[in-house]
């Protein structure tokens, strides 16, 4: 007899992701699936539009990280119009992008991912949120997070016209150069960002890493998946969010692939399951072997931990020290521990702040030449950035007038979808025995999902923000046996 458990976050938009768990006769987990709705027809929507509109259109796909779409699209246009932006423009773009990454990662830790550890995975749902975090760190730190977020968003507004849906990137450069006054402000905020990121890491150290129970949880087999990893690296194989080549390492940490993003279709393929709209990406030459890990399975991961796993170093000194310390603590590189994504996210926030400071101190950042006008006939372009949630690729084909004929987007969470599904299956199998399910177990399964900070169904803004998670246990007859709600 198969029983079915559903973890269903009913949001403003009905049908936002849900986790379904199927039990066998013994009440153990037979299978578990993550289901998400599909936003339909973006490719069709793009066809027939002038390519230069894409940075403004594609950023509307996602209400959470429009900056990442804007930047990937802008870089795609550079390639499409065969134009290499002036150095100053590239540096300003990277600076802008670092500010965005710092803000997004910091907010995620304190408000969203952090509560699992800061307050504790077994804390009640009433405590497991920002207020629980504030109880640990104090209101002052919370105000600091809010304050620094405001400062970074103010800078981005001045650089790009607005934070959300920026009017910033253009093929061949950016819309306007920086002023001395703004650079001075950026330096101050960057310094504050570095100090705050160091504080966050110390806080993580004291509250999480020095707690044996939490460290054991991070290292536990339930949250371990041995996969390949992918992320952008620069010419020295160092971490880079803005540019470089895509590097893939195998589960032992050896370089398996390194390629310019233009060649992504040669190496990445997609698998379709009848129960999901998601296209599960995998490494073509390794092959799709199902939701299993190991060297023979083509499943790979992206996002903070994956990026550190594919990088040989971090070019900014303090983030590199923290990177070394993380791998020493976790028992070497690469790390397969899903919950270490939270730690890696904090290290990346530090890198982003240090990188802001480095770029703001570069004299070239004030150069007035920030645009090279494209003159070539467009045909096909591919652009890539590392979004907070992983590798983001934009790919457009146009006619000779630059009108889109084909568009393909690989969004960050798509890369991680197979791994997320595999992680949920593993956690569910380990934690649900003989049909026993309670709120604590539900949370321990959700933790694996949260570590990736997945972004499904981008483009939504949620007014009531309902997330009444439900676990419903049904008999085979369809009768409800148990129901658990988190609200």
């Amino acid at each position: 007899m198969t029983r079915r458990i559903t973890i269903d976050p009913i949001t403003r938009l009905e049908g936002h992701g849900k986790i379904e768990i199927f039990l066998n006769d013994e009440g153990n987990v037979e299978n578990a699936y993550l289901q998400v709705p599909e936003l339909r027809g973006f490719e069709k929507f793009a066809v027939g539009r002038p390519a230069e509109e894409m940075p403004r259109i594609t950023q509307r796909i996602c209400g959470v990280c429009p900056t990442a779409h804007h930047m990937a699209s802008t870089k795609c246009l550079d390639d499409l119009f065969k134009v290499d932006p002036p150095q100053a423009a590239k540096k300003i773009r990277e600076l802008f992008y670092s500010i965005f990454m710092f803000e997004d990662h910091t907010l995620h830790f304190y408000f969203l991912g952090g509560p699992d550890f800061v307050v504790g995975p077994k804390a009640s749902k009433e405590e497991r949120n920002i207020f629980g975090v504030l109880g640990k760190v104090g209101l002052e730190v919370g105000q600091k997070v809010i304050g620094i977020r405001k400062k970074t968003r103010d800078i981005m507004t001045e650089m790009a016209g607005k934070v959300i849906h920026p009017v910033f990137g253009l093929p061949g450069g950016i819309s306007k150069p920086l002023t001395k006054e703004l650079v001075k402000t950026i330096k101050e905020v960057a310094r504050e960002g570095v100090e705050f990121s160091l504080f966050s890491l110390k806080f993580f150290d004291d509250l999480v890493l020095k707690n044996k129970e939490y460290l054991d949880l991070i290292k536990s087999d339930i949250y371990t998946n041995r996969t390949y990893f992918m992320g952008l690296v620069d010419e020295k194989n160092s971490l880079n969010f803005y540019d470089g080549k895509l590097r893939v390492v195998d589960p032992e940490g050896k370089e398996y692939l390194k390629f310019p993003v233009k060649e992504y279709l040669k190496y990445i393929d997609e698998h379709v399951e009848p129960w999901s709209y998601i296209k599960f990406l995998f490494l073509k030459d390794v092959g799709w072997k199902g939701f299993v890990d190991g060297k023979d399975s083509g499943i790979y991961r992206v996002a903070p931990l994956a990026r550190l796993n594919v990088s040989d170093a971090i070019e900014t000194p303090r983030a590199h020290e923290e990177y070394d310390r993380m791998y020493k603590t976790l028992g070497g590189k690469p790390s397969h521990l899903t919950l270490a994504f939270h730690w890696a996210r904090l290290i990346e926030a530090l890198y982003a702040a240090e990188n802001m400071e480095r770029l703001a101190n570069d004299p070239e950042i004030l150069h007035p030449n920030v645009r090279k006008i494209p003159t070539a006939t467009p045909e096909e372009g591919v652009g890539v950035v590392e979004a907070p949630r992983g590798t983001l690729i934009h790919h457009y084909k146009t006619d000779k007038r630059g009108i889109i004929e084909e568009a393909n987007l690989i969004v960050a969470t798509q890369n991680n979808s197979a791994a997320i599904n595999m992680g949920i299956q593993k956690a569910a199998k380990a934690l649900i025995k003989e049909g026993k399910v309670d709120e604590g177990i539900l949370n321990l399964i959700e933790i694996t999902f949260r570590a990736y900070d997945p972004c499904h169904g981008c483009g939504t803004h949620l007014l009531p923000g309902h997330v009444p998670l439900e676990i419903n246990v049904y008999k085979k007859s369809g009768d409800l046996l148990h129901s658990f709600r988190n609200h």
Binding site: E38, L107, I146, R450, H461, L463, V467, H487
Partner: protein, 161 residues
């Protein structure tokens, strides 16, 4: 403190999700210069940036409960929405964000009203609304206009007294 803000929420390239945006644009023609009018596709925490500093805020947004008729219009005070603690930025709701803002001492409006419209399809990338949702647009604008006029008139009376 500024007086009144009308905030149209939605994504105008996701079919019916754009109703809040289209309504805000219609209202701009009527109320420009008398109140502040903004559009946003952002979610919870970021909305605080928009509404902070205003005395009264009217939000127009789409909902998809699948329990109401398409085109049905709800009007309620934000305080009537339940508090739900959230676990990703994609699911942070405004009520939860308001609680956070209050805790941090951020200046919030004394009243936030919401006009929400049950929509048919907020999932398809397309400009323009579905027929059934489009039909409700004049009523949405009218009802929002009534709220704004009553706030403005109350505001004028307050100044006289």
């Amino acid at each position: 403190m500024d007086e009144i803000l009308l905030l149209g929420l939605g994504n105008e390239i996701l079919k019916d999700d754009g109703i809040g945006i289209y309504a805000a644009r219609c209202l701009k023609e009527i109320f420009a210069g008398r109140i502040e009018i903004r559009e946003s596709a952002e979610s919870g925490l970021h909305l605080i940036d928009h509404i902070s500093g205003y005395r009264k805020v009217l939000i127009i947004d789409s909902i998809k409960t699948e329990r109401l008729k398409v085109g049905e219009i709800l009007s309620f005070d934000i305080e009537e929405l339940p508090q739900v603690f959230s676990f990703t930025p994609h699911y942070v709701g405004l009520p939860f964000s308001l609680t956070i803002a209050r805790r941090f001492g951020i200046q919030l409006p004394e009243e936030i009203r919401v006009i929400a419209i049950e929509v048919e399809d907020p999932y398809t990338f397309q400009e323009g609304l579905s027929l059934r949702v489009n039909k409700t647009l004049p009523e949405v604008v009218e009802r929002a206009g009534e709220v704004l006029e009553s706030w403005l008139s109350h505001s004028r009376c307050a100044h006289i007294s």
